[in-house]
Assembly symmetry: C2
Homo-oligomer: 261 residues x 2
């Protein structure tokens, strides 16, 4: 099947039916994919405030109504408890298990957060002729904890996690401009160049994802990363939390181009 | 006194001391001013969600910590209960009175919302040689209720309120581009041209503010307006709410130029 050219609603139906169980990278070309975080209502205010105070690493695309498994903005016919290929279920910050359906775990006090994802801007970078190394090398993007503190909010706190892409010097401005035009999917780089300036001791050993090759004439460019809010959630050891498994995203009906405005 | 060239902290000190009691338009040139809404914590989640779902009419610049009268982002030394020249105090949506100091009304369960204001982009428009008619005519900006529904959130709902500025045809694109670059202070116009298309029956009778002259060769341009969240708050008739009095804004230490990013 050519999932790249398929409509999001068709791919979501296949995910719901258990036909698709793997990572969503490359599916539904041109459409935005999103990170998932589900929390009980008693944590939702603090978490929403955390995202408001840290919009670059936590660009919220949609928040569900209390207890609802449906959405209004990102997709009209989605079921948030079935339409992601793989979920992670946490108790007190400890991974309890992975599921391809969380209907039986759903609670009336759950609030769903969908957060913008760098898949959206990577599509635009490729379109503009800017190489994306981890895609070329078939790896997950390298991600690093930094010394950049997030603004705390209630129980949530932590440092920014960034993703890194090596960019040829002559394309750094173009890459900055393209991503800056998409603030709802992390926006402009937070840092260009020396990893130590943001507290990264060793660029060859990422904290999450895989290392990638940095060639001569390329500079490491760092963008705020959606792992930041996940990291902040796990630090608080919430009674219960559900997220997507890495790379197994929610595929929305909203096109990347529409996230520019 | 030349308040236009004075530092925000100096003007806030004069407001706090009761020396300045009037509207803040034109003060602290280059610095952002903000709309105020103070609500009890039990409404804060729904209101924060309302702003997340309606970012163009409700661009939140900062939300205080619970019960706190201080800020972190917009100003370091401000007291939100004293540093606005005139407050309005509402009970169940009815105006109970105006105050120049709300310290005695303050409660531990209050949450403060500061919301971006079109004063910021008007400064940029003037800088770019685009006329701002209500300033030329010494009036308040004309504002209108529209047929554009806001996305509801919990108890909050309502239609978008817009402000209108007549712009010469040759400058409409420039005005659009300049304001689009400032999404944290309402951003691009929501509508350009025929008022009826957004449910405004009579452009000469605004619902808030004053009518202004529209000259031959000018088109009415409509921007999302910070009265939208105030209107949504009053519809819910909250037990208690505090806002700024119209035109009596919070003057921040953040420059308009820094709201572009």
């Amino acid at each position: 099947m050519d999932y790249a050219s398929m409509k999001p609603s068709e791919v979501r139906a296949r995910i719901r039916a258990g036909v698709i169980k793997g990572p969503t990278a490359g599916m539904c070309s041109g459409y935005a994919q999103a990170n998932l975080a589900v929390l009980p209502k008693d944590l939702a205010y603090d978490f929403l405030l955390f995202t408001q105070r840290n919009p670059r690493s936590c660009p919220v695309l949609e928040v569900s109504d209390l207890g609802s498994r449906t959405l209004s903005f990102l997709a009209k016919d989605a079921d948030i408890a079935t339409d992601i290929p793989k979920y992670r279920f946490y108790k007190k910050g400890v991974l309890e298990g992975e599921y391809d359906d969380v209907r039986e775990l759903w609670r009336k006090d759950f609030v769903t957060f969908l957060i913008g994802c760098s898949f959206s801007f990577e599509a635009e970078l490729l379109e503009a002729g800017i190489p994306v190394r981890h895609i070329e090398e078939g790896r997950n993007v390298p991600m690093y904890r930094t010394s950049i503190e997030c603004a705390p909010a209630g129980v949530f706190h932590g440092n920014m996690v960034v993703s890194m892409r090596p960019i040829p010097y002559g394309l750094v401005v173009k890459a900055t401009e393209i991503t800056a035009s998409m603030p709802r999917v992390h926006g402009a780089p937070v840092h260009i160049g020396d990893p130590e300036a943001i507290g990264i001791a060793d660029i060859s050993t990422p904290d999450f994802g895989d290392a990638v090759t940095i060639r001569s004439g390329e500079v490491p460019v760092f963008w705020p990363c959606g792992v930041t809010p996940q990291d902040a959630i796990m630090r608080t050891r919430p009674e219960i939390a559900i997220t997507h498994a890495p790379g197994h995203m929610f595929i929305s009906d909203v096109r990347n181009i529409d996230l520019k405005y």
